[in-house]
């Protein structure tokens, strides 16, 4: 059994999760401080990929990154790089689809932050960078970890947008989800079932991790309230 799809799925998920981690926290932090009307509009735009069908996301990505489309054509002529049909093309797809998960959980965590902590830190002479890394992020740690794990889990299961932008080339762009579909399509039921079991196992582990984080978070909250 060729384990390439497993390795490919994991590297795509890991890279996109890392990118979305920073991007999501960055957006969440600035948007949680933004004025209300602006927040409402930007929130809809940033959350949209969560509710759109992945095929619609895939279509939109192809409209932008395809070799005959503006950005795709530019990269092709300048760097001789094709942005679609490679293994890392799938990173674009998973990033767009998972971004709202990270952004929303991080924003929720930031909005629960007790601003008096930041105020008192400032009056004590602590810099805003120190406050962000040493006070705000640790305070919101549980929410951010939960968001990251969810992002990773969703990235691992991405099918629609990935199959459109990266396609299915065994040994090159195949992920677990696209492999399962193609094995089933070609009547290779045995092997498809094995991949299904692997996928379910990974997802179970990830969700158990989410539950553990959330349990710890609840404990932390009740401790904070009890104090």
């Amino acid at each position: 059994m060729d384990l390439f799809p497993l390795w490919n799925s994991i590297r795509i998920s890991a890279i996109s999760t890392a990118a979305v981690f920073f991007l999501g926290i960055f957006c969440a932090y600035y948007i949680s401080k933004a004025p209300k009307y602006f927040k409402g509009i930007i929130d809809v735009v940033l959350t949209l990929p969560l509710v759109l069908p992945p095929t619609v996301v895939g279509y939109l990505l192809l409209r932008v990154l395809g070799p005959k489309r503006p950005v795709g054509a530019m990269f092709l002529s300048l760097f001789d790089i094709k942005l679609t049909m490679t293994w890392w093309s799938a990173v674009f797809a998973t990033m767009v689809v998972t971004f709202p998960l990270m952004y929303r959980t991080a924003r929720g965590a930031f909005e629960l932050f007790d601003n008096n902590l930041a105020y008192s830190a400032r009056t004590l002479g602590l810099s805003d960078t120190y406050i962000f890394w040493k006070i705000r992020l640790p305070y919101c740690k549980q929410g951010i970890i939960a968001g990251t794990v969810l992002t990773f889990a969703r990235a691992l299961g991405e099918y629609g947008a990935t199959s459109m932008i990266a396609g299915y080339t065994p040994g090159r762009t195949a992920t677990i989800s696209t492999t399962v579909y193609n094995l089933w399509r070609t009547n290779n039921d045995n092997l498809a079932f094995k991949w299904v079991v692997i996928n379910i196992a990974i997802s179970c582990v990830v969700l158990m991790a989410v539950n553990m984080v959330e349990k710890k978070e609840r404990q932390a909250v009740s401790l904070k309230e009890g104090a």
């Binding site: 007790d114 105020y119 008192s120 009056t123 002479g125 602590l126 104090a227």
Partner: protein, 367 residues
Amino acid sequence: MSIYVNIEKKLGDFMLRVNFNTENDVLALMGKSGCGKSMTLKCIAGIEKPDRGTIIIDGVTLFSSDKKINLSPQKRKVGLLFQNYALFPNMTAFENIKAGANGIKNKEQKEAAVRAMMEKFEVLHLSNHYPHQLSGGQQQRIALARILVSEPECLLLDEPFSALDTHLRFITERETAKVIKDFGKTVILVSHNIEEVFRITDKIAVMNAGKIETFGEKNTVLSNPETINTALLTGWSEISPAEIINEKCIYAKDWGIILRIKQERCSDICKSKDNKDIGNENCDVRYFVSVRTETIRPAEEESDNSFQMKVESYAVNPYDTTLILKATEGSCPITWRVSNEWWLKNKTDFIRVHIPEEGVALLVDKR
């Protein structure tokens, strides 16, 4: 050590207009919730930006809308103690205080300063505890230590005892009073507990709807509150609309009695409010009279300010008895507390009481 504050800030329908100036004092800022006390502290600390005005501490301009100066909170050297103490939950007590000592760059000196401060506040044994493992009183001591180790020029305390249980309140208050005395620079204490304020501070400023209504030495404010809001906050519980008969006599409309008042209190009020024509019915100034019921005493015979009152009803409390008194039929009652022993001995339907002149204040309400 002096502080000068003259600021304006608009918040929706609310207008904050604060102007005061005090030197080397412990100043109490009193007022109902929502009157702008906490906002004033936040403006001084630099957390909120006033629309207009000036803030100067010890000759250093922290904020000036004319000169376009607005120092960041980090540069103001103003220590602000929050109501919930705002200890960083992810840091131990030691780390919290160390965060306050960020001005000291040398690591060993910094830790020595933290340890010395913890010893002073008797919290060294709590070094490795997280805030949620500490009692309210311990949290307050650590928060104060964290502020003092940052060497502020001015200390602002926002209702520092309101989050504490009653039995802890008094002990913590005594400790804080000592810290304030040792600190020796300007301190502003926000509170709505007059007893606490009286024990700790020198001066009192009473705020109402975003403005400072009364400002002065604590004894002056307590004995002559001048406005209804200040009277209520300083423990003058009984208030009735009043009519000024002359400089010494005031008719209390609700109670149906004529009270004699200290002449200077009456003339002070009338002068300070620029109302030359005493008793002018057409003036838009309304007068009220207040009685500090703690000063009421039983009277033997008829004299000035002594009144025959009917005991409408009474309630026996664990340690004293509350009497509901009426001077005339159909008038509003005055409540008066006496000791249980006295009431058992002197139980009666009619009682003669004496209200001393010190216990009577004239209040104005300008509408």
